[in-house]
Symmetry: C2
Subunit: 235 residues, 2 copies
DNA sequence: CAACCGGCAATACACACGTATAGCATCCAA
DNA sequence: TTGGATGCTATACGTGTGTATTGCCGGTTG
């Protein structure tokens, strides 16, 4: 049997050599990073000559841009329901992503820390979605346009995307490939556990002390960069 | 004034050319990644010849290993209080890290996704710390050695380290360098907000529905996997 | 048939990289 | 003074890289 879900349910024009090259590039860029990946490696993985890679994509950067736009388009096509509405369907979105193309998921994970301009768009999209969710669900805590909402949304996006970006370490630690479809729910449940537990901690005395300490520390530094007398050891 | 906190409070032997090369390598590896960084670039940044880099570190991989061990030692020296005890002094640990050497922080952030073997150790250390914290604070929810505790600890480590690994996107979105010492408290406060809010969401009807859906989905897919049946709702 | 054009391979080229080697000061013990 | 270490530079070498060039082959069009 040939490799499954490699060219799963894609239109037939995607089975051309050009598409094979793009898929190979997605995999190579994801596994080795842009700098370490070579055009000859991509050509070999795609089973074509290196000349054909240039014929279709011109330069190495052109190949990367093609991968970026392909990933962006695929993501946009999956954004149709749920995410665009500002719902927190993160796990559901990922589940669909797992099924559709783990290749793109791995590529995104690498691009996020590989200097790709598309990665910034992806992160900002996640942060924007989170911000809509936060301001809609708790308008009093996160007033629309406030710094508090913006900060929380950015941090929340980072925390969620961490499960993708750090999938290698996460998988090693959990003993399973967290980018495999059958394990998507496992991360979601663990995130629920972390959220509820850490909220308990935040509401506890020590949690409140830490938060207050951070608040006063922030007030001290926001005026002048010098560290105030604070540092109040939280036992 | 010369660049501050570049060779801040380090022993005098660190001001040798060898140390300057190491610092330049830390910066170059962090900014460009291992593959894209060049020995000539490191030599230029350190103000020495490329031959001296080889004289001190032999090969490029030797230079990377030297950076890894230096980062590891620095981390270990900061682990003295708080973290080793299993406390969740994450923000405090980071605050000290910010002050001591933002250089190493940036290096760690890159190494985490650049295939460095040290990065695995760093992640595992964070996950182990989190696991101790979870099992100590909520022993009934996270029994020591259970899959549930291990999963939650790994995800929690990933979520916390995300603020470092994704510092570039986070900083762009928040309009400030999140790896700067004066902003360390800001992330901590945002994380508190996210935790409390998402815990509310997890406790809501839709949150419970999502969790139950994930549970049944997971039961459907994990035939061989054994998770203790004693998961059920902890009120 | 002839001209042509896109898919594709083979090869050549210039360059930057990591690495190896040789040399030059300075210092310090014998 | 001699003679090696030591810190450091300069330069050469081989290789792998991205890219450019050339040409072949099959199908379409005039």
């Amino acid at each position: 049997m040939d490799p499954v879900n490699k060219h799963g349910d894609r239109p037939p024009e995607d089975l051309t050599a050009r598409a094979r090259i793009r898929d190979a590039a997605l995999a190579q860029f994801a596994e080795r990073g842009y700098a370490a990946a070579t055009l000859r490696g991509v050509a070999d993985a795609a089973g074509v000559s290196i000349g054909l890679v240039q014929h279709h994509f011109g330069t190495k950067d052109g190949l990367r841009r093609a991968c970026d736009t392909y990933a962006t388009d695929t993501l946009a096509s999956l954004d149709g329901l749920g995410v665009a509405g500002g719902e927190i369907t993160d796990s559901d979105f990922l589940a669909r992503m797992f099924r559709h193309s783990p290749l793109i998921l791995r590529y995104i994970a690498r691009a996020m820390v590989d200097g790709s301009p598309t990665a910034a768009t992806f992160f900002d999209s996640g942060a924007a979605t989170a911000e809509v969710f936060l301001t809609r669900t708790w308008p009093e805590r996160f007033p629309p346009g406030s710094d508090r909402a913006r900060d929380a949304a950015a941090v929340m996006a980072a925390m969620h995307q961490a499960t993708i970006v750090l999938h290698e370490h996460l998988s090693r630690r959990m003993g399973a490939d967290v980018l495999a479809a059958e394990n998507s729910a496992r991360i979601g449940l663990a995130m629920f556990d972390v959220y509820t537990s850490m909220a308990d901690f935040a509401a506890s005395d020590t949690g409140a002390a830490i938060r207050d300490g951070a608040r006063t520390y922030q007030r001290g530094t926001s005026a002048a960069q010098q560290n105030g007398p604070g540092d109040d050891r939280d036992h």
